[in-house]
């Protein structure tokens, strides 16, 4: 029984959507290095839809896999749909996370939500 599921290992070793969006419509940052992980999400919005989602993450295997999965799940969704995304859904999509790594999935969803709130606060 491996510590991480195959899906987690795949998203960790080959993360999707890594990077920054230069002219992002919204940026959300959560966590900090004291806790051991930190995530920055960048979103591009068109007609109320997440046209592009990218991230940069400092953290463990789970943190990177969660970021990759959140970005993948969020892309193409409406802002409201993306705001509904929960950490449980992210963990489930990854085939589960070890109990002491569940907090990483909180971070991923929170970073995305923060980026959306940041976009909305600009009153576009």
């Amino acid at each position: 029984m491996a510590f991480y599921s195959e899906k987690v290992m795949d998203h960790f070793a080959n993360p999707r959507n890594v990077g920054e969006i230069k002219d992002a419509d919204g940026i959300g940052e959560v966590g900090n290095p004291i806790c051991g992980d930190m995530m920055t999400f960048y979103i591009k919005v068109k007609d109320n839809i997440l046209e592009d989602v990218k991230f940069k993450t400092f953290g463990c295997g789970a943190a990177i896999a969660v970021s990759s999965m959140v970005a993948e799940m969020a892309k193409g969704k409406t802002l409201d749909e993306a705001m509904q995304l929960t950490n449980a859904q992210v963990a489930e999509a990854l085939g589960g996370l070890p109990p002491n790594k569940m907090h990483c999935s909180n971070l991923g969803a929170a970073a995305l939500h923060k980026a959306i709130e940041n976009y909305k606060s600009k009153g576009k």
Partner: protein
């Protein structure tokens, strides 16, 4: 795929000759050492011969050896057993802040039971401050426990000197956890002048399941496992004869090979310590440069996290460890790095390679080749690294720094909430 094992501080591969020495005690000589018929006697002799061999490694008498199941048990027996036996003389115990968790948790238990514990600080290389030790000693100090060498950062203490400080100023007994040093570098418990010493088979090419506590003749101890007459009633329970026989063989091999093996490991260690920084910028050696275990390499790799590092290394067949928060079961950064005052953000990128006599120069070269791209891959994903590239500034973690009022709202694990 290649399998390269660089986590020898946690456990070593067993030496084939050790395994051979153990085999007869599984299927042929299975008697209980306490039985007096012939099959029991064979087992009894094996244990007593082993006692001589194990004692020889650290230059003490066989009757001063108590066999235990593991180093954690030896450390628990030393701390709790001595504390209980001497509690009438005093309630004060000194341990270092970088001890193995079995010493620290045993000390915390004693604290709950009314003992007063002083946790000695260390400098940024992990050396005990001798002045702090002097200041900490009191009339009612009954025990000092300081490890011989730290398995995580490799720093070797000057135990002989620390013992002389303690003995010249107090009546306290001195225990040292020598697990990471015994069998790797020559250890002479008599010359150290210690009253008790922990060592273990499982990190010196011996089996899991056998360790020892050296207890100087005349030192009292309260058993922590009560039962029959085994180990002079100081540690009851049927002897693990096969593992004890293996431990003895491991000590015999160590005595003859140790110096040669250590020299080989030191050369490989020094190659890594000098070559990795040439290929990877912003990395910092943890631990002592001068007094360092032969096989210990511990770097903090800035802007990345340690668990991610060793998972990517594992995918290339390289097994290593990390002191990062995420790599620890309790989600706290290693207490050793914390005590050494390593910046938390930087320490999260700690990676630990510990070598054995079985590692080769080819393996070291393979690591030097494979490790830099792994670091680069994670740095390319890291918001801390991109911030640094853009601004030239490092975000420091900790109170009063960039992160002091940062977002801890989503953090279930840190104390800052």
């Amino acid at each position: 795929m290649k399998q390269i094992y660089f986590d020898n501080q946690s456990n070593t591969k067993i030496d084939e000759n050790v395994f051979k020495a153990m085999k007869p005690y599984f299927l042929d000589y299975y008697g209980n050492p306490q039985s007096i018929y012939s099959l029991g006697s064979v087992s009894k002799n094996a244990v007593e011969e082993a006692r001589k061999q194990v004692a020889t490694l650290i230059n003490i008498k066989p009757e001063e050896i108590i066999f235990t199941s593991c180093a954690t048990e030896s450390n628990n027996l030393a701390l709790k057993g001595i504390a209980d036996a001497y509690k009438k003389s005093g309630k004060h115990i000194i341990v270092s802040a970088i001890e193995h968790i079995s010493i620290l948790n045993a000390a915390r238990r004693l604290e709950k039971d009314g003992f007063e514990i002083t946790y000695l600080p260390v400098d940024k290389e992990g050396n005990i401050f001798e002045e702090e030790l002097k200041k900490s000693l009191k009339n009612d100090t009954i025990l000092v426990s300081i490890q011989t060498a730290n398995p995580e950062v490799g720093t070797i203490q000057n135990i002989k000197k620390l013992v002389s400080i303690v003995k010249s100023q107090s009546k306290a007994l001195f225990h040292t956890d020598a697990v990471s040093a015994c069998g790797t570098i020559p250890i002479d418990a008599a010359d150290f002048g210690v009253d008790a010493l922990t060592f273990s088979a499982s990190v010196m090419y011996g089996p899991k399941g056998a360790a020892a506590l050296y207890l100087k003749k005349g030192v009292k101890i309260t058993p922590q496992i009560e039962g029959g007459v085994q180990e002079n009633s100081k540690r009851s329970g049927t002897e693990n004869v096969a593992a004890i026989a293996g431990f003895a063989k491991a000590c015999e091999i160590a005595k003859s090979e140790m110096v040669k093996n250590a020299e080989k490991m030191r050369n490989l260690r020094d190659k890594l310590i000098s070559e990795l920084p040439k290929k990877i910028p912003y990395i910092y050696l943890n631990g002592s440069k001068k007094n360092r275990l032969p096989g210990n390499i511990n770097f903090s790799i800035e802007f990345v996290e340690g668990e991610a590092l060793f998972l990517l290394l594992d995918a290339k067949g390289i097994m290593a460890a990390s002191g990062s928060a995420c790599a620890n079961k309790n989600l706290k950064i290693s207490h050793v790095l914390t005590a050494m005052n390593v910046d938390v953000a930087v320490g999260q990128g700690s990676i630990l390679f510990t070598l054995s006599k079985y590692n080769s120069e080819e393996e070291i070269d393979y690591l030097i080749e494979e490790f830099p791209p792994v670091v680069q891959k994670l740095r390319d994903m890291s918001p801390l690294y991109s911030h640094f590239l853009k601004t030239g500034s490092r975000m420091k973690a900790g109170p009063g720094t960039d992160y002091d009022d940062n977002d801890h709202e989503h953090c279930d694990i840190c104390d800052e909430k």
